[in-house]
Symmetry: C2
C-alpha cells in the first residue's frame, strides 16, 4: 500500500481536536506531504494550512484527499459523501482510516470507478500476505515495544528515524498503524491482518536492505496486554529486531481500559520482550527507553529521564520533550 | 458457528488417505455424527461407512454434507460442483474446510439460495468478534500448547475430553481449527481471525460455565514457531487456562518446515508458556505432557513416556497409544 502525496487534509465538520489526531500527526511528522486543508463550514479546527478547493489542490500538486479525522465509531458521515465525490471528480485519490471501507458507500465507489482514482482504506490490508518464513534478512531493525498500547511508540519511532537521518545514519520509519501509514505514505495495518499472516506481513514490511541501514518499526500492542499481546508477538517475530526500544507513558500504572491489569515493571518488560524476540534474532538487545513525560511538570522531566537512564544504563528520552539524540549516539557507538 | 449433524462425508475422487484427514478425524472422534459416505466412481478411499445417496442420507437423518478431503491447494474441484448442488437440492447443508469459500462457486451459491440450506466455511470465521476483555470467567480451562505445530494437540484435547467424561468429570472439547470444528460441530477457526480479535474470539469460545466444568481447548501454533507464535499467544490469553498440557511429537527436533529453528527443550517450553499465560491467569500450572510416539517402536513407548514423567513429576501419555487416563487421575487429584 503506497499512498501518493501530497495530501489535502479533510477535516469535515470536526470541532474536537482529539478527533483530528490523524491530521495533527501528519502536520507534525510529514509537513512536506501536507498541501492544504478542506473544511465544511461549521468545522472548528484549523491546522494552519491553506484552505484549498479540490481543483485548486489538484492544480497545486496534491494527489490524495486524506480523511484526517476519526470520529467515535469510525463511520463515514453522510455529510462527507458529497465532498468526497467532488474530490474524486477533481482527480484526487482518497485515503481513509475509517472502519468502514470507502467503497462501501455506493456514490463514492461509483465516482472512483468513473474517475479512475484509487481508494485507500489504511485500516484494512490491501493485499494477502504469506506466512512468516523466519529467514534472516540483511540490514538492521529496531522495534518499539510498550508497557501498554498508546504510550508513544509511533512518536518514538518517528523521532528516532528523524534524528538518525539528521545524524547521517541510514534509517527508515516503518508504519504498522493507520496514522503511521498515512505519515509514511506506506506500511502494513498489522492489527487488521489475519492472525496466521501477521509475522509474514511484518517480514514484508522491512525487506532486505543495506547492512548499515536501520528500519525503525512502529510497534503495536504490548506483550502485557490481555487483548493485543498476540499482535505484538507476531510483529516482533516478523521484524527480527536487532534492538528494541521500551516505550512507556509516565504516570500510567494499569493497562489503559483494563484496571485489573497492572503494568509490568521496566526490568520485567525488557526481559520478557528480549526473551521472546530471541526466537528470530538471538542477538537482540534493548537499546533505550522512551518515556512520554507529558503528565509531568516540565521542570521535572529531565531528572525523571536521567533517573531511569542511570538505573538501566541505557539512554532514556522523551521523543517530544528531548528528542532521540541520546539514543542515536548510543546506537552509533554500540552497533558498528 | 454451529454445524448441524449428522454428517454425510464427501470423499470426491480422493485416492490418497492423507488427503482425507478430515474424514478420518470425524470417523475416529465423532462416529456418532457420521451417517454415511459419498464417493465419486473413481474414489480410492473407504471409511467403512454406508454409501448413501443424498436423498437417502437426508431421509436417514443426515443434515450436512461435509467435505472430508483437503487436496493440496485447498480449492473446490470442478467435479465436486454437480454433487454438491445435488446435495443442496436434496435438503442438506454443506460444510467445507477449503480455502475457497463455497459460495465463491456461483452454482453452489445459487443452489443454496434456492434450497434455503446453509453453507459453512469452517476455515473462515462466520462472525465478527470483540476485542479481548481480560475478564475472568467461571469454570476451568485446559489449553494444549506445543513444541511445534502438528504435534498432536487436537488428538490430545479430544482424548482428554473423552477420558474426563468417561471418568465422570464435566468436560467439553473446544475446537480452534477446521477438523476440530467439524468434529465438535462448532468452534472458532482461530488462525483465520483478524489479529486484533484473536484473544476476544478465544474468550467467546469458552464462556462462563459451572465451577467444576473443564473446557479442554485445542491449541494452535506454538510460542516457539517463527510464523504462528502470535496466534498461540492470543489464543492463550483469551483462554485464561488453569492448566496447560505440553504436546510434542517424539523424534521432532526442528520446527516442521523451518530447519533453522530447533525446538525448545521441554523445561524451557513449559516455563515460557507458563510465564506468558500468567498474564490472564496467575494460577496457571502445567498439568501433564502428551507425546505422539508414532515414530517409536511399539515396545519402546511406555518406557519413553515413563522417563519423561519421572523427569518432570507430571503424567506423560500418548493420546492414541495409552489414552489420557493418567492425566485425568492427576487432574481429579490436584484440582478440587
Amino acid at each position: 500500500m503506497i499512498i501518493p502525496g501530497k495530501y489535502l487534509l479533510f477535516l469535515g465538520a470536526a470541532r474536537d481536536p482529539l478527533d483530528a489526531k490523524t491530521a495533527y500527526g501528519l502536520v507534525d511528522w510529514a509537513p512536506e506531504r501536507c498541501a492544504g486543508q478542506w473544511r465544511l463550514p461549521d468545522c472548528g479546527i484549523d491546522l494552519g494550512l491553506p484552505d484549498l478547493a479540490f481543483g485548486q489542490a489538484h492544480a497545486a500538486g496534491a494527489e490524495t484527499l486524506v480523511i484526517g479525522i476519526t470520529p467515535f465509531g469510525g463511520a463515514i458521515a453522510p455529510e462527507w459523501v458529497a465532498p468526497i465525490v467532488a474530490a474524486l471528480e477533481a482527480g484526487l485519490n482518497v485515503a481513509s482510516g475509517m472502519h468502514a471501507r470507502l467503497e462501501s458507500v455506493p456514490e463514492i465507489a461509483e465516482a472512483a470507478r468513473a474517475s479512475g482514482a484509487a481508494l485507500f482504506n489504511v485500516r484494512t490490508p490491501g493485499t494477502r500476505y504469506a506466512v512468516g518464513s523466519g529467514r534472516k534478512r540483511t540490514g538492521r531493525r529496531m522495534l518499539m515495544v510498550g508497557t501498554d498500547c498508546a504510550v508513544g511508540k509511533k512518536y518514538t519511532a518517528l523521532a528516532i528515524a528523524r534524528d538518525m537521518s539528521a545524524a547521517g545514519l541510514k534509517a527508515t520509519f516503518r508504519a504498522t498503524g493507520q496514522t503511521g501509514i498515512l505519515i509514511a505514505g506506506q506500511g502494513v495495518p498489522i492489527d487488521a491482518v489475519v492472525s496466521d499472516f501477521v509475522a509474514g506481513a511484518a517480514e514484508t514490511l522491512s525487506p532486505d536492505n543495506e547492512t548499515d541501514h536501520w528500519d525503525v518499526i512502529e510497534g503495536q500492542g504490548s506483550l502485557f496486554h490481555p487483548a493485543y499481546a498476540g499482535v505484538a508477538l507476531g510483529l516482533m517475530h516478523g521484524s527480527q529486531p536487532d534492538a528494541i526500544i521500551l516505550c512507556h507513558a509516565a504516570g500510567r500504572t494499569h493497562v489503559d481500559g483494563y484496571p485489573d491489569f497492572a503494568l509490568p515493571d521496566f526490568a520485567e518488560c525488557i526481559e520478557t520482550n528480549l526473551g521472546m524476540a530471541r526466537l528470530t534474532n538471538p542477538m537482540v538487545r534493548c537499546a533505550g527507553i522512551s518515556i512520554n513525560t507529558r503528565v509531568l511538570p516540565a521542570e521535572a522531566r529531565v531528572a525523571h529521564l536521567q533517573a531511569i537512564s542511570d538505573r538501566f544504563g541505557l539512554p532514556c528520552f522523551d521523543p517530544v520533550a528531548t528528542g532521540a539524540g541520546a539514543l542515536v549516539a548510543h546506537i552509533a557507538k554500540t552497533f558498528d
